[in-house]
Symmetry: C2
Subunit: 225 residues, 2 copies
């Protein structure tokens, strides 16, 4: 029997692809929603289309050009993406990105009568991105419910918020997630650069659970298996 | 002495133009921010540019195409704008528009180190638009503060939230607001249609304070002075 309808915010990366498989495993009737925010790594939009098509799921791409706001290496080509382990990732923060994306998901959901949203921050994201914390999502759920055109309870599911990337990956292998089809590299490289913060976090998670990342990389990376 | 910096969300309409003059009267150092959401009445963007230039204020136009979400007569040309007094205005609701706009203002503010936002809903807006109520803005202030990249207290000033359109207008005349330069008509007509909900509310406010609206209209309207 078909379950509740849900919108899964889906970037094509390893965390949100696992999220998508998790929502399906929980028997939600899923639509995927992806944001084309003119991100440097727009190549991830290809992964989205391939994975959604493989699962036969409706998918919608919403364009919102965040280069207009700037302030982040992910949306401003003049700011370099940090590729050294000792560099902080603060410069990759896109101001209020999760707030914007969850709000757009809830707005789109309003037109489709869908109140359930899945969003994929993981435990490690907290360190750099304040809008990945559960108290933030609790507050946003309230704002979105109060702000909608009719009385509704918007629910933002963040099953990975208290899980490490390695734990998410372990769950993903149980669920049969095709990690070879996902995209992670902040530089948008394919093969992936293996050096940016995003690639390094991915490789570290695979190393932690002792499995090989099926994705091709530019160079062999020290901490890779 | 220059006051605190603030972003005024400015549509070129009568309420937000009065809001802009109010923020200046309160000695804020103002930047105006306008949303080009592919609204049917995009002609209001001309008013914005004329008024901001006249005041010598920095102004930024952010594009976010809400026709992608749809669900409203203001963003879906297939849905007609109601022009009969007995018709409800519910169909002009753009899902979570204020949430999106305040979030974009706060995100842009984050890159400019501005935490004060002025937003212009009036008392009558409550009836149709749930995201014009102060409890909603209180909740959103909390969400935006929790979600920003660094600790900050985002403040959304809504000085008109407990004032009727007529009261706002009365204040605007004290402040010398050039109402002849503002735009109101939902149909985007110039001269204004005088029939849509937005025109009718404007004309009713002028009638209530016994002043003539300096804007040209297509036809003489019954309740116009």
């Amino acid at each position: 029997m078909a379950g509740l309808r849900a919108i899964v915010c889906f970037s094509g990366g390893m965390d949100s692809t696992t999220l998508l498989y998790e929502a399906l495993a929980q028997n939600y009737t899923v639509e995927t929603l992806t944001f084309d925010y003119n991100q440097r790594h727009r190549i991830e939009l290809e992964s989205v289309q391939i994975i959604a098509a493989r699962l036969g799921l409706p998918h919608k791409i919403l364009k919102i050009d965040l280069t207009q706001i700037g302030g982040s290496a992910l949306t401003d080509l003049k700011i370099e993406v940090p590729v050294q382990a000792e560099q902080g990732q603060e410069i990759t923060v896109v101001p209020l990105r999760n707030t914007l994306f969850c709000t757009l998901a809830a707005a789109y959901g309003e037109t489709q009568a869908i109140d359930e949203i899945f969003y994929g921050p993981v435990k490690e994201d907290f360190e750099v991105y304040r809008d990945c914390r559960r108290p933030f999502f609790d507050s946003l759920e309230e704002s979105l419910s109060l702000g909608s055109s009719y009385e509704r309870a918007v629910k933002i599911h963040t099953p990975w918020a208290d899980k490490t990337k390695a734990e998410v990956l372990r769950r993903g292998f149980e669920l049969g997630v095709p990690y070879n089809l996902t995209h992670t590299c902040y530089l948008g490289m394919r093969p992936a650069c293996g050096k940016c913060g995003s690639c390094r976090a991915r490789l570290a998670a695979f190393a932690e659970i002792g499995l090989r990342d099926p994705l091709p990389y530019q160079t062999m990376v020290a901490d890779r298996d």
